[in-house]
């Protein structure tokens, strides 16, 4: 992993069109400002990981679970 030291209001550039700026530093929190093309997906990593893991779990629904699903839908 590349590790860089940056201070307040300093930036790094990712490729040609993404700029990440240190907006503020307070205690153990850093506020980042991100300039990127609008179509760029930017997510907190824990959110990304949670959705990804949820997809992996959901894709593993077993045909045997179908009975439970039918019960659920029948009751809903």
């Amino acid at each position: 992993m590349l590790v860089l030291t940056r201070g307040r209001e300093e930036s790094i550039v990712l490729g040609d069109d993404i700029v990440v700026t240190i907006v503020d530093i307070r205690g153990d929190k850093v506020r980042l400002g991100i300039d990127a093309p609008r179509e760029t997906v930017i997510l907190r990593k824990e959110v990304y990981d949670a959705i990804r893991q949820e997809n992996l779990d959901a894709a593993g629904v077993d045909p045997q679970d179908l009975g439970d699903l039918d019960n659920l839908l029948g009751n809903s």
Binding site: R38, E39, V41, I42, L43, R44, V47, Y48, A50, I51, R52, Q53, E54, N55, L56, D57, A58, A59, V61, P63, D65, L66, D68, L69, D70, L72, L73, G74, N75, S76
Partner: protein, 139 residues
């Protein structure tokens, strides 16, 4: 074309029924082509079956069937990957996780699927900073 599936056997899919997820679904970047398979037991859910990988299929539903007040904020530019110009044109689905009982099924309301039915393009949209859970219990 014939699509092999582990759950439904061989499924006939014509090109017009194919749904393409250009960026895939998170965790499945290689699976870009899907088709809808009705749930054999009927009801509001269907299966989003991968045409590339026989064992990958998601149970999906319209989230309002279970969560009537479900709404998401999405910017027009976020819809660009599916070529939709407004949320009115798009259809929103939630992926359902169906764990063994007694655990309750959950809907992923934080990462809904957005479909442009006209162009047959889909994407997974991650709701940034919303209050909807990726494990919203139903049933």
């Amino acid at each position: 074309m014939k699509v092999e599936t582990t759950r439904f056997g061989k499924v006939d899919v014509n090109d017009a029924e194919m749904i393409v997820f250009p960026s895939g679904i998170l965790g499945f970047p290689e699976c870009k082509q899907y088709t809808l398979v009705p749930h054999p037991g009927g009801g509001p859910c269907q299966w989003l079956q991968s045409c590339d990988t026989p064992e990958i299929a998601f149970v999906i539903c319209e989230p309002q069937m279970f969560v009537p007040d479900y709404r998401i904020n999405i910017r027009i530019e976020d819809l660009a990957p599916v070529g939709a110009i407004s949320l009115d044109e798009a259809r929103v689905w939630a992926i359902m996780r169906v764990p063994p009982r007694p655990e309750k099924p959950t809907l992923n309301l934080a990462g809904p699927l957005i479909l442009n039915p006209t162009r047959r393009l889909g994407m997974q949209f991650v709701v940034n900073g919303g209050n909807w859970s990726h494990r919203h219990e139903i049933g």
